[in-house]
């Protein structure tokens, strides 16, 4: 049996639990995405729908909305399940 990890909530299992829910993704270059997680693979590549993309351009936070995207997992720093930033409020 390959080594799976330790603890009660394994990383990929946590992602499985987020399927169909909102996730907030923060990338290494500070780009942020928020959307409903539709699917993922073992490399944290992710399919999101109803997507909001936040990008800092000259200290301005630019919002772009997209219907759905496939995001390359290699650039993801952190995934915050079940929540989104309050930049729009």
């Amino acid at each position: 049996m390959a080594y799976e990890g330790g603890g009660s909530i394994l990383p990929l299992k946590m992602l499985d639990k987020c399927i169909g829910q909102k996730v907030w993704l923060i990338l290494r270059d500070d780009r942020e995405f928020c959307g409903v997680l539709k699917g993922h693979d073992e490399y944290f590549n992710m399919v999101l729908q109803e997507v909001k993309e936040y990008e800092l351009v000259e200290n301005q936070r630019i919002l772009t909305t997209r219907h759905s995207i496939l995001l390359n997992g290699a650039n993801i720093l952190m995934i915050v399940p079940g929540s989104e930033p309050d930049y729009d409020s």
Copy 2:
């Protein structure tokens, strides 16, 4: 059985669904490509046709059109299926 991922739309399955359709690719260095997806492999290497390439050079967006290209998947940040940027309008 190797672990495939979780959710209703797995990343590679989503790419399969884009075959023959327009995809909009955004790279890590902010280059953007838009074209018809003809084929892909598991590393997100992609064959595109009727390709528009957008590159920001000194704040000017330069458009280059190409018949077909093979794009190295390692540089892809995000894939936006079935859509394209409206920079030309």
Copy 3:
């Protein structure tokens, strides 16, 4: 039998011992996280709860609290088990 390593406390075994306890994570880009370790895999990807995130922005240490996160292990420089920074005191 695959080579596991040497010594009385193997890295992954140490992580196993931290399950349910506070860990302080320092990333390569100097971001710091502190939270209860709920799970991890062999690549140091980690599920944390009751999370404090410290980020240096123009020499100011910004604190963000989050309920739970999944952190990509590739960016982790160091894990300090059972402790947290005293920036709040």
Copy 4:
């Protein structure tokens, strides 16, 4: 059976079709090569003949010609089959 990819033109199959033809390669650092593709492997390492190398040096495009080269595939951003840049015209 290992996963090969999706679509009518798989990336490596496209390269196979370019054997004996001109290809135009654009690297991540903006260097460009154009030559006849004589062979390749699965990592996009390529053997080119009748090679033109274009390099931007202080906004000047420098052309170097070489009989044949072996190019490391890891630096390739994009391959444009059957065409070449019109910098010489």
Copy 5:
């Protein structure tokens, strides 16, 4: 039999010999750690105890002491077994 290397002291065997002893680790970004090696794996991930961390901040060498840490092996430039820097003297 997988290739193990050559010579009388193989890298991982050397690490094995350092178990329970002081090691001085120099990272690629010039951070330095010194502590007792409690365990390691094949990727040079290391468990250290009685740890001194030296970091150069604006030409000042800052010392931080920690009870124990798990250090990601990917950032290690060099391991100096059985010795420590004399910055404190």
Copy 6:
């Protein structure tokens, strides 16, 4: 049978043909090496003899000669078989 590649001159086969001959190597950081190829492995790690190393230092091309070297293949951008730069003329 593992996939080997396509075309009449596969990359590693081309290297095999260069054994005993002069090769000119250009690295990603613009360092250049020229010497007789004595051996190589599948990662483009190379053993060269009668070696000339060219390095640009403040726009000056510095030549260093060495009897033999082992060069790490990961930094190689391009291999030009059977030729050398004419910087000395």
Copy 7:
């Protein structure tokens, strides 16, 4: 049989021949090490003894001597067998 490479002196075989002899290592960041090679593995991780480390700091070459070190092979640019720099003369 796994592919080993081509030529009369394979890279790892060359390292084997250096066991017990002086080697001069030049890293990607221009740090240099010179010492007696005691052992190595397939990733060019190396155990050196009687080590001289040369580091350029503000155009000054700083020499540090160490009894023995384990050097991470990933940062090595080039290995010059059986020789050392003449910086001390």
